[in-house]
């Protein structure tokens, strides 16, 4: 299968602390790839390195053969990488549909002046963006509350809205940071199905951080395990489960 994402010895230290240390692995196109590890293992930092929010200390990131390291977040997003955030970063004071429409930014091109005089092409584009945003909201089951402010949504709904916003970028690679956090078991089950569905529907590659091990084992094609910033192992769920280093990482501290 074709490699879509390639991490080469990526490292990041924060004043001496190696948050991510020499991590290398490949992600293949179309897979659902899990990133697990104990708290503070450097999973979110790794996401931030991949999306350009945190600059790397050393190492390289290749996406579809292109070098991404050093690019600012908006350029990386424009290459086709969408993400959600562990601590949910919606545009809280704006409505759900506006949240999604904002992410249509790179798929639209109207400049300031054409918007002010409202040229026909701008009106068409605006209408398309609007339709697209509602379509995505329908997909995540939030279309009936599209005009409500994002801050009024429940925790689970906010997580879904964040996924909707990321999907509006029409990404090829979707990074989900703890999408199941705070969900009950039936919601988690639903989420598993939903992630598979969008993967198939949009031909996505999904990279996700998750704490809930059964969900990861059930959902992911392959899993990478991080501990203290270092990659312990990469493999399919069955192999990872048997790996002694992984068991130690999870149980060792206790």
């Amino acid at each position: 299968m074709k490699t879509i994402l390639q991490l080469k010895t990526m490292s990041r230290n924060f004043g001496g602390l190696m948050a991510v240390n020499n991590v290398s692995f490949d992600v293949a196109e179309g897979e659902i790839f899990g990133l697990i590890g104990p708290n503070g293992a450097g999973k979110t930092t790794l996401f931030n390195l991949m999306t350009g929010l945190t600059p790397v200390s050393s190492g390289e990131l290749h996406y579809c053969g292109e070098l991404l390291t050093g690019l600012p977040p908006h350029k990386i997003a424009a290459k086709g990488i969408g993400r959600t955030f562990q601590n949910i970063r919606l545009f809280k004071g704006l409505s759900a549909v506006e949240n999604v429409k904002i992410a249509r930014h790179i798929k639209t091109s109207s400049g300031l002046w054409s918007s002010i005089i409202s040229t026909p092409s701008c009106r068409t584009e605006e209408k398309c963006a609007d339709e697209k945003a509602w379509e995505i909201l329908r997909l995540v089951g939030l279309s009936d509350r599209g005009t409500e402010l994002a801050e009024n949504f429940s925790y689970g709904e906010q997580r879904r809205l964040e996924i909707a916003r990321a999907l509006a970028l029409e990404p090829a690679l979707l990074l989900l940071d703890e999408p199941a956090a705070g969900m009950n078991s039936s919601e988690k089950h639903e989420l598993t199905g939903f992630i598979r569905q969008i993967r198939d529907q949009f031909k996505l590659t999904v990279l996700l951080i998750e704490h809930h091990v059964p969900l990861v084992m059930n959902l992911c094609d392959r899993i990478a395990v991080l501990n203290f910033g270092e990659l312990i192992t990469v493999g399919n769920p069955a192999d990872v489960q048997k790996n002694t280093a992984v068991i130690e990482a999870y149980l060792g501290g206790e």
């Binding site: 999306t51 600012p72 970063r89 545009f91 930014h105 002010i116 970028l169």
Partner: protein
């Protein structure tokens, strides 16, 4: 009627003019940037108009184009403001929150001291006898009024546009906006430049209106006054700067019978408005509107 216009004309034009200056602060604020640079660009615009209008170097130009000199002044002021805004904005807009505000205060003060000392700006005395566009003060409503209407329309369209959404996304969460493909620097600078150009043009229109121009036109007090207009009018609504600018700039006149204590009352109004109307006058109005529709809906339901 004529008498009313003579007496109140100056005040009404001032209210419109101050509303426009409040708007110049509103655009950066729409993109989440607290910039207090407007008085600097306002001063720049005024000096541009005053210099083109009075300096002997421009005499042949004025004589050959006549009244067209005025629109030319607005244009030049707008362009110069845009250039200066880019020079100042690109480095300064990397700063956030109060740090940006302080940097813009520094910019305004540096510009003020420069204008106070340069020959071309007339030093401490300033520039006198700036040619008038109209005979009477209230006639200036014919330039400030259309500009206000244009800017309201601009704000209205902007708010619902791709660019406006990018501004709001940055205001809500800059990092998330960046991750959604929006280049924050680009849009922050754009919002800053829009505000600067507006302030510059208003300055260029104001120099003839006020007949004279000096370094007192661009001060820190003005920065804070404009900020007060926007916050008290409502920083989340396109009507906010208009309401705040018009009402607060009229306040000292309305309170004129109180003589010396009027500015004390003015200060108290700022304090109480900050405390009791955190979303501004526009916020209060929309809350009233909501509660009215809610009531009518409730009544309708019972009927």
């Amino acid at each position: 009627m004529e008498e009313f216009l003579q007496n109140s004309g100056f005040l009404i034009v001032t209210m419109v003019q101050q509303s426009l200056l409040a708007m110049s602060l509103y655009y950066p604020l729409m993109a989440g940037q607290l910039s207090l640079a407007s008085p600097g660009f306002y001063a720049l615009g005024g000096y541009t108009a005053a210099i083109i209008g009075t300096h002997e170097f421009f005499t042949p130009l004025r004589e050959s184009i006549g009244w067209l000199a005025f629109p030319l002044e607005w244009l030049v002021a707008g362009v110069l403001s845009a250039i200066l805004a880019l020079i100042v904005g690109i480095p300064a807009l990397r700063l956030r929150g109060i740090y940006l505000a302080l940097a813009t205060i520094a910019f305004v003060e540096i510009l003020r001291v420069l204008c106070l000392n340069l020959t071309i700006t007339g030093g401490a005395i300033g520039i006198f006898d700036v040619p008038q566009l109209f005979e009477s003060r209230w006639s200036y409503i014919w330039i400030f009024g259309p500009l206000l209407v244009m800017m309201l329309f601009f704000s209205y369209r902007l708010e619902k546009s791709r660019t406006g959404r990018a501004f709001q996304a940055i205001r809500e969460d800059e990092l998330a906006a960046d991750s959604m493909g929006i280049n924050p620097t680009r849009y922050k600078v754009l919002a800053f430049v829009i505000g600067a150009v507006l302030a510059g043009i208003v300055g260029a229109m104001s120099a003839p209106f006020l007949n004279t121009w000096n370094a007192r036109q661009g001060t820190f007090d003005a920065s804070i006054a404009y900020l007060a207009y926007v916050l008290i009018g409502g920083s989340r609504s396109i009507w906010g700067p208009l309401l705040g600018g018009a009402m607060l700039s009229a306040l000292p006149e309305v309170l004129r019978p109180l003589k010396d204590s009027r500015l004390i009352i003015n200060g108290l109004v700022l304090v109480f408005a900050s405390i009791y109307m955190p979303k501004g006058i526009a916020g209060v109005i929309s809350r009233l509107k909501r509660s009215l529709t809610w009531k009518s809906r409730k009544n309708g339901g019972e009927a």
